[in-house]
């Protein structure tokens, strides 16, 4: 099923945002995404995890050129799209947002929300064709024509997220950035939406970039997972390899911090509790950005940025002390 060619690829992607400093007229930059490279193969799901402020959402949005990248290159299907007019690519690359409340215009009916994409790209030949398309997209996500005339506030969170997915699907995309699509939903609804993503992938051959802070969901849906910390990728591997044989100390502590929903296992396991907080991205630590919270850190970590290298086939990590850690 999987081809070797990357459908989406980013090379040395950088996204810096200017912020006001503490002094008058002082300008500083937040390095939200700093030198990130990865590729996503056709039909694959790449998961991206990390804590808030690590730059995973920014990576997803910069990839779609919703923010103009500060530096680096973005490729789609072999074409460099870093500088081109995005309109034709908007049909191929779509996004599903985290908050199903904020991402739907409260003054538009569900039909119009889904129809907006059809209008922009002039996909419908007539009014009835437009209506047919809307209903067919809604039925793909488990909603029906009766829902089309209703407003977002009449739906529950899970249903709204379905509307958000329907809007993305309306243009028949090949690639979808899923930006924390289940974080705002109740546990019992999360599984519905996750299953729907999987089903759509099977039926339509979609490629996903799945961004979330919950590693258990990301592991469930992804083929490969990248872990981000303060704007940098620290580890990237096959999802089973990453959950069971992680090499980077941050990934290890992240996995161990997740509370397991099984009392016997969680009583038996010993947690690695990280000390301290995530430093500010305005003023990140020198060298390895994780060193301030890392148990293995030494002078080398402060002086030099660790190199991004392949530990085993397809398993990458950036750490000076991989041999010591493992």
């Amino acid at each position: 099923m999987m081809e070797h060619k990357n459908l989406v690829e980013v090379q040395n992607l950088k996204q810096y945002f200017p912020v006001a400093g503490s002094k008058l007229f002082e300008k500083k930059v937040v390095k939200a995404v700093d030198n990130v490279s990865f590729g996503i193969k056709k039909g694959e799901t790449l998961g991206l995890v990390g804590e808030s402020g690590c730059g995973k959402t920014t990576t997803g949005r910069t990839l779609l050129r919703l923010y103009e990248p500060t530096d680096g290159k973005i490729f789609y299907d072999g074409e460099d799209i870093t500088k081109v007019n995005m309109l034709p690519y908007r049909r191929k690359m779509q996004i599903v947002f985290q908050d199903p409340y904020a991402s739907l215009d409260p003054r538009m009916t569900v039909g119009d929300i889904v129809g907006e994409a059809i209008d922009i790209h002039k996909l419908a030949s007539s009014r009835s064709d437009r209506q047919d398309r809307i209903i067919s997209v809604l039925s793909t996500v488990g909603l029906n024509s009766e829902h089309a005339n209703r407003y977002p506030h009449e739906f529950s969170g899970g249903q709204r997220q379905r509307v958000g997915i329907a809007r993305a699907l309306a243009v028949d995309p090949e690639f979808i950035v899923c930006d924390e699509p289940v974080s705002a939903l109740d546990v019992s609804i999360q599984a519905q939406v996750v299953n729907m993503f999987e089903q759509l992938q099977e039926e339509l051959g979609l490629t996903y970039l799945f961004i979330a802070h919950d590693l258990s969901i990301v592991k469930h849906i992804s083929n490969r997972i990248g872990v981000m910390y303060l704007g940098k990728l620290v580890e990237l591997a096959d999802s089973y390899e990453l959950t069971f044989h992680s090499v980077h100390p941050y990934t290890k502590s992240l996995i161990s911090a997740i509370p397991v929903a099984d009392p016997k296992i969680s009583r038996a396991s010993k947690r690695i509790v990280l000390e301290g907080d995530v430093p500010s991205p305005v003023n990140p630590p020198s060298g390895c950005r994780f060193r301030t919270r890392c148990a293995y850190a030494d002078e080398l970590c402060a002086a030099e940025e660790p190199e991004w290298r392949e530990v085993s086939t397809g398993h990458f990590a950036a750490c000076h002390h991989l041999d010591k850690v493992n």
């Binding site: 899970g158 249903q159 546990v187 519905q192 929903a261 099984d262 296992i265 995530v278």
Partner: protein, 336 residues
Amino acid sequence: MSEYLVNIKNERLSFFTPAGEVKALNDVSLHLREGEVLGIVGESGSGKSVTAYSLMGLTAYPGRLIGGNLEFNGHEIEKMTEKEMRKIRGNEISIIFQDPMTSLNPVYTIGNQIREVIMLHTDKNSKQANERAKELLNLVGINEPEKRLKQYPHELSGGMRQRVMIAIALACEPKLLIADEPTTALDVTIQAQILELMMELKEKLGMAIIMITHDLGVVANMCDRIAVMYAGKVVEYGSTDDIFYNPSHEYTKGLIRSIPKLTEKEHSKLVPIEGSPVDMLNPPAGCPFAPRCTSCMKICLREMPPYTDVTDIHYSACWLLQKKEFEQEQAQKGDA
């Protein structure tokens, strides 16, 4: 005094909104012994926070308690006046909220806010209160308490703020700490720190904790007892092991099936609970979970299921349990 620190019996509470009556709590019964940790899990709007808030007498307008008994530490909460409640709040029972950003007042220093609570409930003077505040910050693992007391909330990180909130809540060594989604707004690694801290403090101070959360992982880690709520009703109550290894309500079963497990080696499809949460303005006549239940029976649509005991401390409101009893009785009749 009863054997329980908290004993809620058949609590009913409604919100009288312009659009109609919302039965936020519909026959809620819970109990908790001293020093125990009770987890209340459920979806948003299931009434888990409302239950805990009503125990503090903090029901928001237009909500009103319309029935049931709420017993806490020998007090009958439902009969107490606002003035009497104020003496208990922050003293015998305190609360920490989900969002440490908004629950601290941004215009006062941390020290100011901790001292205020101490001086409100004890007769310590300002200086003694300051000493106590330093002790408290030490207790919750904040370095350099002297310096922190002079800082404002915005100068602290999210995890640090939640520690301060815990310090304020513990100022008078309460018998019961209510934690309303205390780690939902925090990152996983910070969540681990805060949960660890809460368990340590529980051991040290011997207080009971009511942990409100939607995260089954958190309750599996921390709690002795679990109450599962759905649409304003406790659908199942039992020990942590009962709930995880011997769930008897269909909702609890579905909930446990629907979460992805990090420890699983093989990829298996998740089993979701189909359908949407109940419209609380217009709830069904029978079991609120019936429309989403895979083993829904005719009676479930019509009548609210009664509580059925599974073991002494494990009960659940599901007609399937009644069905078992019914069949046994029928069999006995047949024999006779």
